[in-house]
Amino acid sequence: MDQEELILRLIEGDESAFKHLVNTYKKMVYNTILGFVQQTGDAEDITQDVFIKIYESIGGFKQQAKLSTWIYRIAITQAQDFIRRRNRKKRGGFLVSLFGSGDELVYDPPDFVHPGVLAENKEQSVILFKAINQLPENQKTAFLLQKVQDCSQQQIAEVMQLNEGAVESLLSRAKANLRKQLSSYYSTL
C-alpha cells in the first residue's frame, strides 16, 4: 500500500488501513517518544495518543511532507507537551531546581536505562540521558533524532522545519553543552 492510498483509506475511516499504519510506524513513534520522556509506561501511553491524533487529524495532512515526517512532528510535539506538564507538576510539588548554581546535579530524576543501550554503555548512558534532559528543547530534539532515531541532518531539518545549517549548529551546540555538563559532573566524583 503506497502512502497516498494509505492516506485516502485512513480518511475514509478504513480500520485495516489504520492497523497497517500503526504496525508500520509504532516502533518509530515509540522509540522517539521513549528518548524524550525516558519512561517506558509513559512512552507507551503517549504512543497511543499519537496514533489517535493521527487518526483524528489525517484529513488535515496536506502531503507537502512525507507521512513519516508528519508523524515524527506529532510524536515530538506530544512528547514535549507531556514533559512540560510533568515539569510543571514537579515544580509545584517540590520546588526544587534540577541544577545548582555551578551546573551540579542537585536533584536526581529517576535513572533511565534505555533498553536498547549496549550492556557496557548502560551506566554512562544514564548520566548522558540526565544531561540531555537539561538541554534546550530544540537542541534536545535534534540530538535525540540523530542519536536515538539515527536520522540524517536532512531528515532532522525536515522534521524540525529548519535548514540543514541550522540543524548542524543545533547539534554542535548540543554536543558542546553535553560535554560541559558531563565534564562538570565527572570532575565532582
Partner: protein, 105 residues
C-alpha cells in the same frame, strides 16, 4: 581527584554511549490498546455530553419555573380588589380633622 585528561576521556566515552543504540520493539498489542482507548474515549465523551445536557436542561427548567411563578404572583396581585385611593385619603383627612381650614384652639 581525577586528572583533566581522565575527565575528558570519560566525558567522550559517555557522549558516545548512545552509539549503536538498538531500537526497542513497541508493544505487540498496541493496536488493540489504541482501539480500546478510542472506544473508551468515545464513551467518556458521550457521558460528558449527557451530563452537560442534563445540567442545561435543569437550568432551563429552573429558569422557566421562576418565570412562571413570577407571572402567577404578579397576576394574583393585579387581580386583587383594591380600595380606591380617593376614599382612603378622605377617610384619613376626616380622622385627623384635616378637612376644615380654621384653627381650633
Amino acid at each position: 581527584m581525577k586528572s583533566q585528561q581522565e575527565i575528558d576521556r570519560i566525558t567522550e566515552s559517555a557522549l558516545s554511549s548512545l552509539d549503536n543504540l538498538q531500537q526497542v520493539e513497541a508493544n505487540d498489542f498496541l493496536y488493540s490498546k489504541i482501539i480500546n482507548r478510542m472506544q473508551m474515549r468515545g464513551q467518556q465523551d458521550r457521558a460528558a455530553f449527557r451530563s452537560l445536557m442534563m445540567r442545561l436542561s435543569f437550568a432551563l427548567v429552573l429558569f422557566a419555573g421562576i418565570n412562571v411563578a413570577s407571572f402567577l404572583v404578579l397576576e394574583h396581585q393585579r387581580n386583587k380588589p383594591q380600595k380606591p385611593a380617593k376614599l382612603n385619603e378622605a377617610a384619613f383627612a376626616s380622622e385627623y380633622s384635616l378637612t376644615n381650614n380654621g384653627y381650633n384652639y
